[in-house]
Amino acid sequence: MLNLETIVFAILALIAVAAAVLMITSRNAVHSALFLVVVMSSLAVFFLGLWAPFVAMVQVAVYAGAIMVLFLFVIMLLGAEKIGARMGRSWQLPVAIGMGVVVLGLGVFMLLNTAPIEVLDRPAADIVMGSAEAIGAALYSEWLFPFEAISILLLVAMIGAVVMTGHAGKKKSA
């Protein structure tokens, strides 16, 4: 069954996994950040294919845009491209890879041992699509309290970031 969706999926999945592997293996932190942008962009295309166009746009704008720019800014501000490129203790790498294999095995085991989920192939008109209107309606009705709570979380994070960096600067000059 080699239709267009399968081909698009295979190419995107290969790009995402390859970029993720390169991200965790590359010696230069700037290269890692750029490979993470590739992973996030290919996931945005997955979101488009899964009827979530608004989330896909937010993924590109917020994740691949704002958050990764913040990462790149800090890497270049600190000049931290090469820090920690090599493992300090040689026994850590095999242990880490072993634990990664265990996590992967656990995920595959759970995937194979759960009851298959009934995915109905509905006509296009019946599919709930994640348009901006639908997500806004859900956010402001059913999810109103979490929405307000998370705005306070963002405010606290902003104040925390300003306080931490400001305090460290004063301590050094004093």
Partner: protein
């Protein structure tokens, strides 16, 4: 020809999510640069987001997509605070190698 794109590939998409999450775990465990550890955590959050979106599609519910928004907001807050912490640690210790940061005293 199905009009519901990617729907027949649902278990494979969850499998891709598992693989990406595992790569994030390996990145956290193997890398010593605090910024790259943060980026690996972001990779894990993205893998979870992919699973959320896939399940939202399979159950035909919008709530999974709303939850992805909350994950993104928490990730943004985490990055802001975490990078501020990294900058503060770098100012006092001149390093962000997590093997060098082994004291609670500043």
């Amino acid at each position: 020809m199905s009009n519901a794109s990617f729907v027949t590939l649902f278990p494979v998409i969850i499998g891709l999510s598992v693989v990406l999450f595992t790569l994030g775990v390996v990145g956290v465990l193997t890398r010593r640069n605090a910024i790259i550890i943060f980026m690996s955590v972001e990779l894990m959050l993205n893998a979870a987001n992919l699973a959320f979106i896939a399940f939202a599609r399979s159950f035909n519910q919008i709530d999974g997509q709303v939850f992805v928004f909350f994950v993104m907001v928490v990730a943004a807050a985490e990055v802001a605070v975490g990078l501020a912490l990294i900058v503060a640690v770098f100012r006092t210790r001149q390093s962000i190698n997590v093997d060098d940061i082994n004291q609670l005293k500043g």
